[in-house]
Protein backbone atom coordinates (compact mmCIF):
# COMPACT_ATOMS: atom_id res chain seq x y z
CA UNK A 1 0.00 0.00 0.00
CA UNK A 2 1.39 3.40 -0.87
CA UNK A 3 1.83 6.03 1.79
CA UNK A 4 -0.77 8.21 0.18
CA UNK A 5 -3.37 5.48 0.11
CA UNK A 6 -2.69 4.58 3.73
CA UNK A 7 -3.21 8.16 4.83
CA UNK A 8 -6.41 8.33 2.81
CA UNK A 9 -7.70 5.19 4.51
CA UNK A 10 -6.82 6.57 7.92
CA UNK A 11 -8.62 9.85 7.25
CA UNK A 12 -11.68 8.08 5.93
CA UNK A 13 -11.94 5.67 8.86
CA UNK A 14 -11.63 8.51 11.36
CA UNK A 15 -14.32 10.39 9.49
CA UNK A 16 -16.60 7.37 9.68
CA UNK A 17 -16.04 6.89 13.39
CA UNK A 18 -16.91 10.53 13.98
CA UNK A 19 -20.04 10.25 11.86
CA UNK A 20 -21.11 7.16 13.81
CA UNK A 21 -20.63 8.94 17.10
CA UNK A 22 -22.73 11.90 15.99
CA UNK A 23 -25.43 9.62 14.63
CA UNK A 24 -25.63 7.75 17.93
CA UNK A 25 -26.07 10.94 19.93
CA UNK A 26 -28.67 12.27 17.50
CA UNK A 27 -30.57 8.98 17.54
CA UNK A 28 -30.55 8.93 21.34
CA UNK A 29 -32.01 12.41 21.48
CA UNK A 30 -34.62 11.56 18.87
CA UNK A 31 -35.48 8.40 20.81
CA UNK A 32 -35.96 10.29 24.06
CA UNK A 33 -38.10 12.95 22.44
CA UNK A 34 -40.20 10.32 20.65
CA UNK A 35 -40.80 8.39 23.85
CA UNK A 36 -41.82 11.60 25.59
CA UNK A 37 -44.29 12.50 22.91
CA UNK A 38 -45.62 8.98 22.38
CA UNK A 39 -46.43 8.57 26.07
CA UNK A 40 -47.85 12.09 26.13
CA UNK A 41 -50.09 11.23 23.21
CA UNK A 42 -51.34 8.19 25.11
CA UNK A 43 -51.93 10.42 28.12
CA UNK A 44 -54.08 12.79 26.12
CA UNK A 45 -56.29 9.94 24.94
CA UNK A 46 -57.41 9.65 28.56
CA UNK A 47 -57.18 13.24 29.83
CA UNK A 48 -58.35 16.17 27.75
CA UNK A 49 -55.88 18.88 26.78
CA UNK A 50 -58.33 21.39 28.19
CA UNK A 51 -58.34 19.78 31.62
CA UNK A 52 -54.55 19.52 31.57
CA UNK A 53 -53.90 23.16 30.78
CA UNK A 54 -56.79 24.95 32.46
CA UNK A 55 -57.71 23.24 35.72
CA UNK A 56 -55.95 24.17 38.91
CA UNK A 57 -55.59 20.89 40.79
CA UNK A 58 -52.73 18.47 40.22
CA UNK A 59 -53.46 15.17 41.98
CA UNK A 60 -52.73 12.30 39.60
CA UNK A 61 -52.43 9.60 42.27
CA UNK A 62 -55.54 10.60 44.20
CA UNK A 63 -58.96 9.05 43.85
CA UNK A 64 -60.54 10.63 41.90
CA UNK A 65 -57.43 11.92 40.13
CA UNK A 66 -57.13 15.40 38.74
CA UNK A 67 -54.73 16.53 36.06
CA UNK A 68 -54.43 20.31 36.01
CA UNK A 69 -50.76 21.04 35.34
CA UNK A 70 -50.87 24.76 36.13
CA UNK A 71 -49.73 24.35 39.75
CA UNK A 72 -46.57 22.57 38.57
CA UNK A 73 -45.95 25.24 35.94
CA UNK A 74 -46.49 28.05 38.43
CA UNK A 75 -44.23 26.33 40.95
CA UNK A 76 -41.50 25.96 38.35
CA UNK A 77 -41.72 29.54 37.17
CA UNK A 78 -42.04 30.94 40.68
CA UNK A 79 -38.74 29.35 41.64
CA UNK A 80 -37.00 30.24 38.38
CA UNK A 81 -38.24 33.81 38.69
CA UNK A 82 -37.29 34.29 42.33
CA UNK A 83 -33.90 32.63 41.91
CA UNK A 84 -33.07 35.02 39.08
CA UNK A 85 -33.33 37.90 41.54
CA UNK A 86 -30.25 36.44 43.17
CA UNK A 87 -28.32 34.90 40.32
CA UNK A 88 -28.64 37.67 37.72
CA UNK A 89 -27.76 40.83 39.69
CA UNK A 90 -25.19 39.19 41.94
CA UNK A 91 -23.69 37.22 39.06
CA UNK A 92 -23.45 40.28 36.85
CA UNK A 93 -22.12 42.34 39.74
CA UNK A 94 -19.37 39.81 40.41
CA UNK A 95 -18.55 39.72 36.71
CA UNK A 96 -18.25 43.50 36.56
CA UNK A 97 -16.07 43.49 39.64
CA UNK A 98 -13.86 40.72 38.31
CA UNK A 99 -13.38 42.08 34.82
CA UNK A 100 -13.25 45.84 35.47
CA UNK A 101 -12.26 46.47 39.07
CA UNK A 102 -10.38 43.53 40.54
CA UNK A 103 -6.60 43.48 40.48
CA UNK A 104 -4.97 40.57 38.68
CA UNK A 105 -4.22 39.02 42.05
CA UNK A 106 -7.78 39.26 43.32
CA UNK A 107 -9.08 37.79 40.10
CA UNK A 108 -6.67 34.90 40.38
CA UNK A 109 -8.09 34.03 43.79
CA UNK A 110 -11.78 34.69 43.19
CA UNK A 111 -12.27 33.04 39.82
CA UNK A 112 -11.30 29.52 40.96
CA UNK A 113 -13.53 29.92 44.00
CA UNK A 114 -16.46 30.73 41.74
CA UNK A 115 -15.72 27.73 39.59
CA UNK A 116 -15.50 25.57 42.70
CA UNK A 117 -18.90 26.85 43.77
CA UNK A 118 -20.29 25.82 40.39
CA UNK A 119 -19.04 22.29 40.97
CA UNK A 120 -20.94 21.65 44.21
CA UNK A 121 -23.61 18.96 43.64
CA UNK A 122 -27.08 20.41 43.78
CA UNK A 123 -28.20 18.01 46.50
CA UNK A 124 -25.79 19.78 48.83
CA UNK A 125 -27.51 23.06 48.05
CA UNK A 126 -30.82 21.32 48.73
CA UNK A 127 -29.81 20.34 52.25
CA UNK A 128 -28.23 23.74 52.76
CA UNK A 129 -31.59 25.31 51.88
CA UNK A 130 -33.57 23.05 54.18
CA UNK A 131 -31.28 23.15 57.20
CA UNK A 132 -29.86 26.65 56.96
CA UNK A 133 -31.89 29.01 54.80
CA UNK A 134 -35.33 27.78 55.84
CA UNK A 135 -34.72 28.25 59.60
CA UNK A 136 -33.54 31.80 58.95
CA UNK A 137 -36.64 32.59 56.91
CA UNK A 138 -38.84 31.03 59.58
CA UNK A 139 -37.19 33.01 62.34
CA UNK A 140 -38.11 36.21 60.49
CA UNK A 141 -41.48 35.06 59.12
CA UNK A 142 -42.75 32.37 61.53
CA UNK A 143 -45.79 31.52 59.37
CA UNK A 144 -43.60 30.13 56.60
CA UNK A 145 -44.00 26.43 55.83
CA UNK A 146 -41.00 24.21 56.45
CA UNK A 147 -40.99 23.43 52.77
CA UNK A 148 -41.29 26.67 50.85
CA UNK A 149 -40.50 28.16 47.46
CA UNK A 150 -38.43 31.02 48.81
CA UNK A 151 -35.80 28.87 50.47
CA UNK A 152 -35.43 26.71 47.37
CA UNK A 153 -35.25 29.82 45.15
CA UNK A 154 -32.45 31.30 47.21
CA UNK A 155 -30.48 28.07 46.98
CA UNK A 156 -31.12 27.76 43.23
CA UNK A 157 -30.06 31.39 42.86
CA UNK A 158 -26.82 30.78 44.72
CA UNK A 159 -26.20 27.66 42.70
CA UNK A 160 -26.63 29.39 39.33
CA UNK A 161 -24.81 32.59 40.34
CA UNK A 162 -21.29 31.34 39.53
CA UNK A 163 -22.38 30.39 36.05
CA UNK A 164 -23.71 33.89 35.40
CA UNK A 165 -20.59 35.44 36.89
CA UNK A 166 -18.17 33.26 34.99
CA UNK A 167 -19.85 33.45 31.58
CA UNK A 168 -20.57 37.18 31.86
CA UNK A 169 -17.01 37.82 32.89
CA UNK A 170 -15.74 35.89 29.89
CA UNK A 171 -17.95 38.01 27.65
CA UNK A 172 -16.75 41.25 29.24
CA UNK A 173 -13.10 40.26 29.06
CA UNK A 174 -13.61 39.59 25.36
CA UNK A 175 -14.46 43.26 24.75
CA UNK A 176 -11.26 44.65 23.23
CA UNK A 177 -9.11 46.80 25.48
CA UNK A 178 -9.01 49.51 22.82
CA UNK A 179 -12.69 50.22 23.45
CA UNK A 180 -12.08 50.45 27.19
CA UNK A 181 -9.19 52.86 26.61
CA UNK A 182 -11.32 54.97 24.31
CA UNK A 183 -13.86 55.37 27.09
CA UNK A 184 -11.26 56.21 29.73
CA UNK A 185 -9.64 58.74 27.40
CA UNK A 186 -12.98 60.57 27.19
CA UNK A 187 -12.92 61.08 30.93
CA UNK A 188 -15.02 58.18 32.22
CA UNK A 189 -14.86 56.69 35.66
CA UNK A 190 -14.40 52.95 36.07
CA UNK A 191 -18.05 52.49 36.87
CA UNK A 192 -19.13 54.44 33.78
CA UNK A 193 -16.85 52.39 31.57
CA UNK A 194 -18.27 49.19 33.05
CA UNK A 195 -21.94 50.14 32.87
CA UNK A 196 -22.14 52.25 29.74
CA UNK A 197 -19.52 50.64 27.53
CA UNK A 198 -18.48 47.17 28.60
CA UNK A 199 -21.81 45.72 29.70
CA UNK A 200 -23.64 46.87 26.54
CA UNK A 201 -20.75 45.67 24.38
CA UNK A 202 -20.84 42.26 26.05
CA UNK A 203 -24.62 42.12 26.07
CA UNK A 204 -24.98 39.03 23.92
CA UNK A 205 -22.73 36.99 26.18
CA UNK A 206 -24.32 38.36 29.32
CA UNK A 207 -27.79 37.65 27.93
CA UNK A 208 -26.71 34.10 27.15
CA UNK A 209 -25.52 33.60 30.70
CA UNK A 210 -28.83 34.92 32.02
CA UNK A 211 -30.87 32.58 29.86
CA UNK A 212 -28.67 29.63 30.80
CA UNK A 213 -29.10 30.41 34.48
CA UNK A 214 -32.87 30.60 34.13
CA UNK A 215 -32.91 27.38 32.11
CA UNK A 216 -30.88 25.69 34.82
CA UNK A 217 -33.32 26.98 37.41
CA UNK A 218 -36.28 25.63 35.44
CA UNK A 219 -34.63 22.24 35.16
CA UNK A 220 -33.19 22.13 38.68
CA UNK A 221 -34.42 19.05 40.50
CA UNK A 222 -32.70 18.12 43.75
CA UNK A 223 -32.93 21.47 45.49
CA UNK A 224 -36.61 21.90 44.80
CA UNK A 225 -37.42 18.28 45.64
CA UNK A 226 -35.79 18.72 49.03
CA UNK A 227 -36.56 22.30 50.00
CA UNK A 228 -39.70 23.37 48.15
CA UNK A 229 -41.89 20.48 49.21
CA UNK A 230 -44.24 18.21 47.34
CA UNK A 231 -47.46 20.13 47.41
CA UNK A 232 -48.62 21.22 43.99
CA UNK A 233 -50.07 24.60 44.81
CA UNK A 234 -51.22 27.19 42.34
CA UNK A 235 -49.79 30.21 44.12
CA UNK A 236 -47.41 33.10 43.78
CA UNK A 237 -46.73 33.17 47.51
CA UNK A 238 -43.08 32.22 47.98
CA UNK A 239 -43.64 31.23 51.59
CA UNK A 240 -45.88 28.32 50.68
CA UNK A 241 -44.85 24.84 49.77
CA UNK A 242 -44.94 24.23 46.02
CA UNK A 243 -44.05 21.49 43.60
CA UNK A 244 -42.22 21.99 40.33
CA UNK A 245 -42.34 19.87 37.19
CA UNK A 246 -39.01 18.31 38.00
CA UNK A 247 -39.98 17.88 41.65
CA UNK A 248 -43.05 15.95 40.60
CA UNK A 249 -41.11 13.75 38.22
CA UNK A 250 -38.51 12.77 40.76
CA UNK A 251 -41.23 12.11 43.31
CA UNK A 252 -43.06 9.80 40.94
CA UNK A 253 -39.90 8.05 39.89
CA UNK A 254 -39.14 7.24 43.51
CA UNK A 255 -42.62 5.85 44.27
CA UNK A 256 -43.83 2.59 42.81
CA UNK A 257 -46.04 3.17 39.84
CA UNK A 258 -47.35 0.68 37.36
CA UNK A 259 -45.72 0.86 33.96
CA UNK A 260 -48.30 1.93 31.38
CA UNK A 261 -50.69 3.30 34.00
CA UNK A 262 -51.96 6.85 33.74
CA UNK A 263 -49.74 7.91 36.66
CA UNK A 264 -46.83 6.55 34.71
CA UNK A 265 -47.80 8.60 31.69
CA UNK A 266 -48.05 11.80 33.70
CA UNK A 267 -44.30 11.66 34.21
CA UNK A 268 -43.78 11.70 30.46
CA UNK A 269 -46.31 14.38 29.74
CA UNK A 270 -44.77 16.65 32.37
CA UNK A 271 -41.35 15.80 30.98
CA UNK A 272 -42.48 16.74 27.48
CA UNK A 273 -43.83 20.03 28.77
CA UNK A 274 -40.56 20.77 30.55
CA UNK A 275 -38.72 19.95 27.35
CA UNK A 276 -40.87 22.39 25.38
CA UNK A 277 -40.46 25.15 27.96
CA UNK A 278 -36.67 24.83 27.88
CA UNK A 279 -36.68 24.63 24.11
CA UNK A 280 -38.67 27.85 23.79
CA UNK A 281 -36.35 29.58 26.24
CA UNK A 282 -33.33 28.49 24.25
CA UNK A 283 -34.88 29.83 21.08
CA UNK A 284 -35.59 33.18 22.72
CA UNK A 285 -32.02 33.28 24.01
CA UNK A 286 -30.61 32.49 20.57
CA UNK A 287 -32.72 35.22 19.03
CA UNK A 288 -31.73 37.84 21.59
CA UNK A 289 -28.07 36.94 21.30
CA UNK A 290 -28.01 36.96 17.51
CA UNK A 291 -29.69 40.32 17.41
CA UNK A 292 -27.15 41.91 19.71
CA UNK A 293 -24.01 40.24 18.54
CA UNK A 294 -21.06 42.52 17.81
CA UNK A 295 -18.08 41.07 16.02
CA UNK A 296 -14.78 42.69 16.84
Amino acid sequence: MTKKKKRWLEEKSIEWVLIMVSVISILTTVGIVMTLFYESYEFFTVVSIKEFFTTLRWAPVFDPPSFGVLPLLSGTFLIAFLSSFISLPLGLGSAIYLSEFASKKARKIIKPILELLAGIPSIVYGFFALTFITPIIRSVLPDTSIYNALSASIAVGIMTLPMVASLSEDAMMAVPDSIRQGAYALGSTKLEVAIHVIVPAAFSGIGASFMLAISRAVGETMIVAIAAGQTPTFTLNPLESVQTMTGFMVNMALGDIQQGSIEFKTVFVVGALLFLVTLVMNFIAKFVIQKNREVY
Binding site: A183, L186, G187
Partner: protein, 251 residues
Protein backbone atom coordinates in the same frame (compact mmCIF):
# COMPACT_ATOMS: atom_id res chain seq x y z
CA UNK B 1 3.02 82.29 21.56
CA UNK B 2 1.61 80.71 24.65
CA UNK B 3 2.90 77.56 26.32
CA UNK B 4 -0.01 75.17 26.90
CA UNK B 5 1.89 72.26 28.38
CA UNK B 6 5.34 72.37 29.92
CA UNK B 7 7.21 69.11 30.38
CA UNK B 8 10.20 69.16 32.69
CA UNK B 9 12.58 66.31 33.42
CA UNK B 10 10.07 63.62 32.63
CA UNK B 11 11.33 60.13 33.39
CA UNK B 12 9.05 57.22 32.70
CA UNK B 13 9.37 53.62 33.83
CA UNK B 14 7.58 50.41 32.95
CA UNK B 15 8.68 48.50 36.03
CA UNK B 16 12.46 48.45 35.78
CA UNK B 17 12.55 49.54 32.17
CA UNK B 18 13.05 53.25 31.60
CA UNK B 19 11.08 54.27 28.53
CA UNK B 20 11.59 58.04 28.72
CA UNK B 21 14.76 59.77 29.88
CA UNK B 22 14.74 63.31 31.15
CA UNK B 23 12.39 64.81 28.61
CA UNK B 24 11.82 68.56 28.71
CA UNK B 25 9.77 70.37 26.12
CA UNK B 26 7.04 72.94 25.65
CA UNK B 27 3.83 72.44 23.76
CA UNK B 28 2.50 75.69 22.35
CA UNK B 29 -1.11 76.68 22.25
CA UNK B 30 -2.95 76.41 18.92
CA UNK B 31 0.01 74.77 17.26
CA UNK B 32 0.49 71.29 15.94
CA UNK B 33 3.42 69.53 17.52
CA UNK B 34 4.56 66.36 15.77
CA UNK B 35 6.53 63.61 17.49
CA UNK B 36 8.67 61.42 15.27
CA UNK B 37 11.18 58.68 15.88
CA UNK B 38 11.74 54.97 15.26
CA UNK B 39 9.47 52.31 16.68
CA UNK B 40 9.86 51.76 20.41
CA UNK B 41 11.50 55.13 21.09
CA UNK B 42 8.78 56.22 23.51
CA UNK B 43 6.42 58.44 21.49
CA UNK B 44 3.27 56.69 22.66
CA UNK B 45 4.58 56.59 26.18
CA UNK B 46 5.07 60.34 26.06
CA UNK B 47 1.51 60.87 24.86
CA UNK B 48 0.14 58.55 27.52
CA UNK B 49 1.88 60.58 30.21
CA UNK B 50 0.06 63.73 29.19
CA UNK B 51 -3.45 62.39 29.81
CA UNK B 52 -2.36 59.93 32.48
CA UNK B 53 -3.49 56.94 30.41
CA UNK B 54 -0.53 55.08 31.88
CA UNK B 55 -2.54 54.84 35.11
CA UNK B 56 -4.19 51.82 33.49
CA UNK B 57 -0.88 50.00 33.12
CA UNK B 58 0.40 48.02 36.10
CA UNK B 59 3.84 49.12 37.18
CA UNK B 60 4.03 52.26 35.02
CA UNK B 61 5.51 55.26 36.85
CA UNK B 62 6.16 58.81 35.65
CA UNK B 63 8.52 61.15 37.48
CA UNK B 64 9.22 64.82 36.87
CA UNK B 65 6.70 67.47 36.00
CA UNK B 66 4.11 68.13 33.33
CA UNK B 67 2.22 71.36 33.92
CA UNK B 68 -0.94 72.17 32.05
CA UNK B 69 -2.31 75.64 32.72
CA UNK B 70 -2.52 75.64 36.49
CA UNK B 71 -2.52 71.86 36.91
CA UNK B 72 0.37 69.53 37.67
CA UNK B 73 -0.63 66.52 35.60
CA UNK B 74 1.64 64.01 37.31
CA UNK B 75 0.38 64.91 40.79
CA UNK B 76 -1.31 61.93 42.44
CA UNK B 77 -4.24 64.11 43.45
CA UNK B 78 -4.99 65.37 39.97
CA UNK B 79 -8.52 64.48 38.95
CA UNK B 80 -7.81 62.34 35.89
CA UNK B 81 -11.44 62.24 34.82
CA UNK B 82 -11.48 66.04 34.64
CA UNK B 83 -8.04 66.07 33.03
CA UNK B 84 -9.05 63.68 30.26
CA UNK B 85 -12.06 65.82 29.44
CA UNK B 86 -9.69 68.71 28.80
CA UNK B 87 -7.03 66.63 27.04
CA UNK B 88 -8.69 64.37 24.49
CA UNK B 89 -7.04 61.44 22.76
CA UNK B 90 -7.39 59.73 19.40
CA UNK B 91 -5.83 56.30 19.04
CA UNK B 92 -3.88 54.58 16.33
CA UNK B 93 -6.65 52.18 15.46
CA UNK B 94 -10.18 53.58 15.31
CA UNK B 95 -11.96 52.38 18.44
CA UNK B 96 -15.60 53.44 18.25
CA UNK B 97 -17.99 52.02 20.82
CA UNK B 98 -20.36 49.32 19.60
CA UNK B 99 -23.17 51.84 19.63
CA UNK B 100 -24.87 54.11 17.12
CA UNK B 101 -23.04 57.06 15.56
CA UNK B 102 -25.09 59.45 17.68
CA UNK B 103 -24.38 57.53 20.86
CA UNK B 104 -20.67 57.55 20.09
CA UNK B 105 -20.51 61.30 19.69
CA UNK B 106 -22.71 62.06 22.66
CA UNK B 107 -21.06 59.53 24.95
CA UNK B 108 -18.99 62.14 26.76
CA UNK B 109 -21.72 64.71 27.38
CA UNK B 110 -24.12 62.04 28.53
CA UNK B 111 -21.64 60.87 31.14
CA UNK B 112 -20.43 64.25 32.26
CA UNK B 113 -23.84 65.89 32.31
CA UNK B 114 -22.44 69.38 31.80
CA UNK B 115 -24.33 70.13 28.59
CA UNK B 116 -28.12 70.57 28.81
CA UNK B 117 -30.13 68.04 26.84
CA UNK B 118 -31.57 70.57 24.40
CA UNK B 119 -28.09 71.34 23.14
CA UNK B 120 -27.16 67.73 22.41
CA UNK B 121 -28.44 67.73 18.85
CA UNK B 122 -26.52 70.88 17.98
CA UNK B 123 -23.41 69.47 19.62
CA UNK B 124 -23.79 66.24 17.66
CA UNK B 125 -23.98 68.15 14.41
CA UNK B 126 -21.17 70.59 15.17
CA UNK B 127 -18.82 67.83 16.35
CA UNK B 128 -19.46 65.74 13.26
CA UNK B 129 -18.96 68.81 11.10
CA UNK B 130 -15.69 69.69 12.77
CA UNK B 131 -14.52 66.16 12.08
CA UNK B 132 -15.76 66.64 8.49
CA UNK B 133 -17.92 63.56 8.75
CA UNK B 134 -21.37 65.11 8.95
CA UNK B 135 -22.31 65.03 5.27
CA UNK B 136 -21.35 61.35 5.05
CA UNK B 137 -23.41 60.17 8.01
CA UNK B 138 -26.26 62.64 8.46
CA UNK B 139 -28.78 60.16 7.05
CA UNK B 140 -27.70 57.25 9.19
CA UNK B 141 -26.99 58.68 12.58
CA UNK B 142 -28.73 55.79 14.28
CA UNK B 143 -26.74 53.09 12.56
CA UNK B 144 -23.97 51.26 14.31
CA UNK B 145 -20.58 52.95 14.21
CA UNK B 146 -19.23 49.61 13.00
CA UNK B 147 -21.03 50.12 9.70
CA UNK B 148 -18.59 52.93 8.80
CA UNK B 149 -15.34 52.56 6.89
CA UNK B 150 -12.04 52.70 8.79
CA UNK B 151 -11.41 56.32 7.83
CA UNK B 152 -14.94 57.31 8.78
CA UNK B 153 -14.60 55.47 12.08
CA UNK B 154 -11.44 57.40 12.83
CA UNK B 155 -13.15 60.70 12.10
CA UNK B 156 -16.02 59.55 14.29
CA UNK B 157 -13.51 59.00 17.09
CA UNK B 158 -12.23 62.52 16.49
CA UNK B 159 -15.80 63.87 16.60
CA UNK B 160 -16.44 61.94 19.81
CA UNK B 161 -13.37 63.52 21.36
CA UNK B 162 -14.24 67.03 20.13
CA UNK B 163 -17.74 66.72 21.60
CA UNK B 164 -16.29 66.78 25.10
CA UNK B 165 -14.78 70.19 24.23
CA UNK B 166 -11.14 69.46 25.01
CA UNK B 167 -8.39 72.06 24.87
CA UNK B 168 -5.68 69.68 23.77
CA UNK B 169 -5.88 66.81 21.28
CA UNK B 170 -3.44 63.93 21.56
CA UNK B 171 -3.24 61.81 18.44
CA UNK B 172 -1.20 58.64 18.34
CA UNK B 173 -0.59 57.78 14.69
CA UNK B 174 -4.19 58.57 13.81
CA UNK B 175 -3.73 57.83 10.11
CA UNK B 176 -1.53 54.76 10.19
CA UNK B 177 -4.48 52.44 9.65
CA UNK B 178 -5.95 54.54 6.85
CA UNK B 179 -5.58 54.82 3.10
CA UNK B 180 -4.10 57.97 1.46
CA UNK B 181 -7.49 59.58 0.76
CA UNK B 182 -8.73 59.15 4.32
CA UNK B 183 -5.33 60.34 5.53
CA UNK B 184 -5.54 63.47 3.40
CA UNK B 185 -8.98 64.19 4.85
CA UNK B 186 -7.68 63.97 8.39
CA UNK B 187 -4.65 66.09 7.62
CA UNK B 188 -6.90 68.80 6.17
CA UNK B 189 -9.00 68.55 9.26
CA UNK B 190 -6.00 69.10 11.53
CA UNK B 191 -5.30 72.40 9.81
CA UNK B 192 -8.81 73.50 10.81
CA UNK B 193 -8.65 72.06 14.28
CA UNK B 194 -5.52 73.88 15.34
CA UNK B 195 -7.44 77.16 15.30
CA UNK B 196 -9.33 75.94 18.33
CA UNK B 197 -7.17 73.25 19.82
CA UNK B 198 -3.61 72.47 20.69
CA UNK B 199 -2.60 69.30 18.86
CA UNK B 200 0.12 66.77 19.60
CA UNK B 201 0.43 64.13 16.94
CA UNK B 202 2.64 61.07 16.75
CA UNK B 203 3.46 60.00 13.25
CA UNK B 204 5.69 57.51 11.52
CA UNK B 205 5.62 59.50 8.33
CA UNK B 206 8.16 62.27 8.13
CA UNK B 207 6.36 63.71 5.14
CA UNK B 208 3.26 63.97 7.26
CA UNK B 209 5.12 65.68 10.07
CA UNK B 210 6.67 68.12 7.61
CA UNK B 211 3.32 68.80 5.94
CA UNK B 212 1.13 69.44 8.91
CA UNK B 213 3.10 70.41 11.99
CA UNK B 214 4.49 73.68 13.32
CA UNK B 215 6.88 72.06 15.77
CA UNK B 216 8.55 68.69 15.72
CA UNK B 217 10.24 66.60 18.38
CA UNK B 218 12.55 63.76 17.43
CA UNK B 219 12.73 60.87 19.91
CA UNK B 220 15.33 58.14 20.00
CA UNK B 221 15.64 55.40 22.62
CA UNK B 222 13.57 57.32 25.14
CA UNK B 223 15.41 60.57 24.70
CA UNK B 224 14.25 63.76 23.06
CA UNK B 225 17.13 64.36 20.68
CA UNK B 226 15.92 67.53 19.07
CA UNK B 227 12.92 69.79 19.31
CA UNK B 228 12.10 72.93 17.35
CA UNK B 229 10.26 74.52 14.50
CA UNK B 230 9.36 71.88 11.95
CA UNK B 231 10.85 73.92 9.13
CA UNK B 232 14.17 74.28 10.89
CA UNK B 233 14.32 70.70 12.10
CA UNK B 234 13.77 69.31 8.64
CA UNK B 235 15.99 71.76 6.74
CA UNK B 236 18.88 72.27 9.13
CA UNK B 237 18.85 69.66 11.88
CA UNK B 238 21.35 70.37 14.61
CA UNK B 239 21.97 66.81 15.69
CA UNK B 240 23.65 64.24 13.47
CA UNK B 241 21.15 61.57 14.59
CA UNK B 242 18.19 63.73 13.58
CA UNK B 243 19.74 64.26 10.21
CA UNK B 244 20.34 60.54 9.79
CA UNK B 245 16.75 59.79 10.70
CA UNK B 246 15.05 62.34 8.50
CA UNK B 247 17.20 61.48 5.54
CA UNK B 248 16.26 57.86 6.03
CA UNK B 249 19.71 56.62 6.87
CA UNK B 250 18.37 54.58 9.74
CA UNK B 251 15.17 53.73 11.64
Amino acid sequence: MQTKIRVENLNFYYGNFQALKNISMEIYENKITALIGPSGCGKSTFIKSINRMYDLIDGAVAKGSISFDEIEILDKNTDVVELRKRIGMVFQKPNPFPKSITENVLYGVKRHGDVPKIEWLALLESSLKKASLFSEVEHKLNQSAFSLSGGQQQRLCIARTLATKPEVLLMDEPTSALDPIATAKIEELLEELKKEYTVIIVTHSMQQAARISDYTGFFLNGELIEFGLTKTLFSTPKDKRTEDYITGRFG
